[in-house]
Symmetry: C2
Subunit: 178 residues, 2 copies
């Protein structure tokens, strides 16, 4: 039996972007697990300034795809999660508003959980692109304090997309820069 | 034997911030593994605009701690990784510079790998705080194109810090906002 650490690390190393899906549905329970993983992310001062819209209806996935030139894979995805920031969560004593940093950690957790569950997904940016964010806000009826951050199409992989080897030792410095 | 997915998900759910360390050293090989995990993160247009400084020398950890009011746990940590953005990596065709989003995904990968390796760590923000970033850049001799993003003190946990239950079903919306 392999070690826990080996299994977790391999899942991180093997995570890849999946853009080609079978069209098969993704269960609500699977989406719940993914959003639970998202909410396990750390956030600045534990503020948890996030919210999620999980979508499985074909017509809504298609409407989103129509206005998102970089996210046409929504047409084949079984589902999508929109990771959002919630600006109504109050800031404390002069902290910078880092909701988009926190939303990024959420998004990465979703991708790693997807990989472990033998599903596929790709992170597509909405923030800080106003045209994309505006389209999503309109389709989903988001209130003004909810800012779309990323759209993550999710589905059963149909292609053979492989992880990239992105390890670059020259990006690592020891003790000081040089 | 437990399923891979269960092990990976539990690691995500159980990840917690560790701020109290034994002072025991962290191996170079462990730090290499953590930075390999970091570089496995996705990045906007696969630009990989990141760099890392891994620190194990007591005197440098102490110097960093001196100028970082929120990161005094560096005094007890066995090591630290500074996640940085590299603004010399070129942008393509009008893409927004989202290096801090990519650096956030790197930082989350490090925390999840730490958790799996029975180490402990906490994500402490440098960006967008100029005073903190300036101190780190000075201590480490960072060139102008390298922007410190986060400092992650790493060590062997000495306390009994537990994961927080942050699952909030009210943050989840189905199909549309309401």
């Amino acid at each position: 039996m392999r070690e826990t650490s080996e299994i977790v690390l391999e899942n991180i190393f093997q995570r890849r972007s999946v853009r080609i899906f079978t069209g098969e549905a993704v269960d609500h329970s699977e989406l719940m697990t993914l959003m639970k993983a998202a909410m396990s992310a750390p956030s600045a001062r534990n503020r948890q300034p996030w919210a999620f819209v999980a979508i499985t209806e074909r017509s809504i996935l298609d409407q989103l795809a129509e206005g998102l030139p970089k996210t046409k894979m929504l047409y084949q995805a079984g589902a999508a999660i929109i990771v959002c920031g919630d600006s109504s969560v109050e800031l404390q004593d002069g902290a910078a508003d880092l909701w988009y940093i926190d939303a990024a950690a959420c998004s990465e957790n979703i991708l790693l959980a997807v990989q472990a569950m033998d599903l596929g997904a790709v992170w597509s940016a909405l923030y800080p692109y106003e045209e994309r964010s505006g389209h999503v806000a309109k389709v989903l009826g988001l209130p003004a304090h909810i800012q779309p951050f990323s759209v993550i199409p999710i589905g059963h992989p149909a292609g053979d997309e492989m992880p990239k080897d992105k390890f670059r030792p020259e990006r690592i410095h020891w003790e000081k820069w040089e």
